[in-house]
């Protein structure tokens, strides 16, 4: 996965697109802000989600955050590894620490997301 080709949300999720399948996770910045992640909960495979619907809960030592779906579609795969070992997300947010794959209904939704450069600019403002 090339991080420069990913899309990002204001809520710090990243999306990597392969055909109509979007792989999502959270950015390195988000993982750093959350600190040690201790528990992750995802919906079941097969669930349909709308863009920016909550699709999971990320619990860190100091806080609990919601995960938002960057796209509309159906959840087709969950990364069980991060559910069992959430610390993977802190170690490798863009590689082993991916969360789930969603089959997108319409890839035009990606237009409203940030590009890598736009996301970095956004972080600069935060």
């Amino acid at each position: 996965m090339e991080i420069e080709e990913c899309f990002f949300t204001k809520e710090h999720e990243w999306v990597s697109v392969d055909g109509d399948v979007a792989t999502i996770g959270i950015s390195e910045y988000a993982a750093g802000e959350l600190g040690d992640i201790v528990f992750i909960e995802f919906p079941d495979v097969g669930q349909k989600v709308k863009q920016m619907d909550p699709v999971g809960t990320i619990e860190a030592v100091k806080t609990v955050a919601e995960l938002f779906s960057p796209v509309t579609g159906e959840i087709i795969e969950i990364n069980e590894e991060v559910v069992d070992n959430p610390e993977i997300v802190n170690k490798s947010p863009y590689e082993e620490g991916w969360f789930m794959k969603i089959r997108m209904d319409k890839s035009s939704e990606l237009d409203v997301l940030f590009s890598y450069e736009e996301y970095n600019d956004f972080l600069g403002e935060e």
Binding site: D36, V38, F39, K62, T63, A65, P86
Partner: protein, 478 residues
């Protein structure tokens, strides 16, 4: 670190006070006689006392010093309340006793219901729920049955992001879907934003007042009007009522349902795991839905009423945590209307005074005036590589309890500080002085903070490990 009481008693010691059995044993009972040891600690009386004294001296509590845990109202609880609640006339009662034998207890429940109605401007109160979140659930159940009776199918409950974290959970548990309302740049609900998301499918607007930023909603009148115009009920999380007593009667400004935390506002020791009490008050149109039994007054007696049929039923065994009700009633009687107002005024003055002092060295994103608490932030120390957690841990080295940290979620590196009304000016000055000193240490010697605490019985704990692999068990010989 202190070992468990079991570890201290493993070397053949004992505090044996039970004499050997000198009665004949029924043969028939022998097969079921216990063979294994009882597993009690093998320790003599003095060892027991020393063990618990050691733990008590290591513990930090309100009797030792300031406990500025935001949102928790860790205030001093007058001893007289304890004495009254411990009186055998109250604690010797059994909840299943006949009404005629417990008239005094019923009178106390009735009078407390009336007092809370007066303080909150509500028409009726139930004292059954035993925690704040339990009160929330009870209140939302009342709203659910209210709309069910009217034949209205409303699915959503709007919860501002400045509300207590339990609110959305209570909403979900009750079958509604929580919808988050973002607060505006003032840290408050913006009526225009509320209008955007409210609809005929909104059942309840559930707000915390004052909110978790310690702010009173400036537009509360408009906010309630918008909710009522949409046909929704307005629920107030009244856990922060210690800022409003004698100043605002929520029922009189249009709040339909609210709960109180007697173990915060009305002086029951809090933070030791309970017991708590979360009474729920409603206005007239919802009174029939309150849990039963309710205590009612007859001409010269008090009795339980099991009507009306619309009631959501029982939410707890018997009548809630009666012992906490006794303390709350004693507290209210002793202070009276004037005293309760002074409690709130002092809580507000203390918080504003401390915010002014702490705000000189830390960020305060939403400047005052605040109510009973305020939210500062250590985000200005980030440039030294210091986090809020480091500040909190360093406070322990100076012998004070840390404030609530990383809550509310809408403030980065939050330090949520509630000094409470029972702390005097010198204590606040000392706390502010320590906060100032820590901000200087952050700039001059950040490692002091990274390594903190160094003077506590245990150093910095591996919280991630504790959360990922919790192990609460202890085995003999382990």
């Amino acid at each position: 670190m202190t070992g468990t009481i079991f570890e201290k008693g493993l070397h053949g010691r004992s505090g044996k006070y039970i004499p050997e059995n000198d009665c004949p044993v029924d043969e028939a009972l022998l097969p079921i006689q216990r063979k294994s040891s009882l597993g009690l600690p093998r320790i003599a009386e003095q060892g027991v006392i020393r063990h618990y004294m050691e733990l008590a001296s290591k513990n930090y509590h309100i009797d030792k010093g300031i406990y500025p845990l935001g949102s928790c109202t860790m205030k001093y609880n007058p001893v007289v309340n304890e004495e009254i609640a411990r009186d055998n006339a109250f604690c010797g009662l059994h909840p299943a006793q006949d009404e005629a034998d417990v008239q005094g207890a019923l009178e106390l429940i009735f009078n407390l219901q009336e007092a809370l109605c007066e303080i909150c401007g509500m028409d009726s109160f139930t004292l059954q729920p035993v925690a704040g979140a339990h009160g929330e659930l009870t209140g939302i159940m009342i709203a659910r049955d209210y709309f069910r009776e009217r034949g209205e199918d409303r699915k959503f409950v709007i919860v501002p992001d400045s509300a207590h974290g339990t609110n959305p959970a209570s909403v979900s548990t009750c079958g509604f879907t929580p919808v988050t309302l973002k607060s505006d740049e003032r840290g408050m609900i913006n009526p225009a934003d509320l209008k955007e998301i409210i609809s005929s499918e909104t059942a309840v607007l559930m707000l915390t007042l004052p909110n978790t930023l310690g702010l009173f909603e400036r537009d509360i009148g408009k906010i309630i009007e918008i909710a009522h115009d949409a046909g929704a009920l307005v629920y107030m999380d009244g856990a922060n009522m210690n800022a409003l007593m004698g100043i605002v009667q929520p029922g009189k400004i249009g709040i339909d349902i609210m709960h109180l935390n007697l173990h915060k506002t009305f002086s029951t020791p809090h933070g030791g795991g309970g017991p708590g009490s979360g009474p729920v008050g409603v206005r007239e149109h919802l009174s029939a839905f309150l849990p039963v039994p309710r205590v009612v007054k007859k001409i010269d007696s008090f009795e339980f009423s099991w009507g009306p049929e619309k009631s959501i039923g029982k939410v707890h065994s018997y009548f809630g945590n009666f012992n906490v009700l006794v303390k709350a009633y004693a507290y209210i009687c002793r202070l009276g209307a004037k005293g309760l107002r002074e409690v709130s005024e002092n809580a507000i003055i203390n918080a504003n005074y401390l915010m002014e002092l702490v705000g000189r060295f830390y960020d305060v994103k939403y400047p005052g005036p605040c109510m009973h608490e305020f939210v500062a932030s250590a985000v200005n120390l980030k440039k030294h590589g210091v986090s809020t957690l480091d500040v909190a841990k360093r406070l322990l080295d100076y012998g004070v309890h840390a404030p609530t940290v990383y809550f509310p979620l809408i403030v980065k590196e939050a330090l949520m500080i509630e000094p409470v009304e029972t702390e005097k000016k010198e204590t606040l000055d000392r706390f502010a002085g320590i906060m100032e000193k820590i901000s200087r240490e952050a700039a001059e010697n950040p490692d002091l903070l990274h390594e903190a605490p160094v003077s506590t019985p245990v150093r910095r704990l591996d919280e991630a490990c504790a959360a990922r692999n919790p192990d609460f068990r202890w085995y003999e010989g382990k």
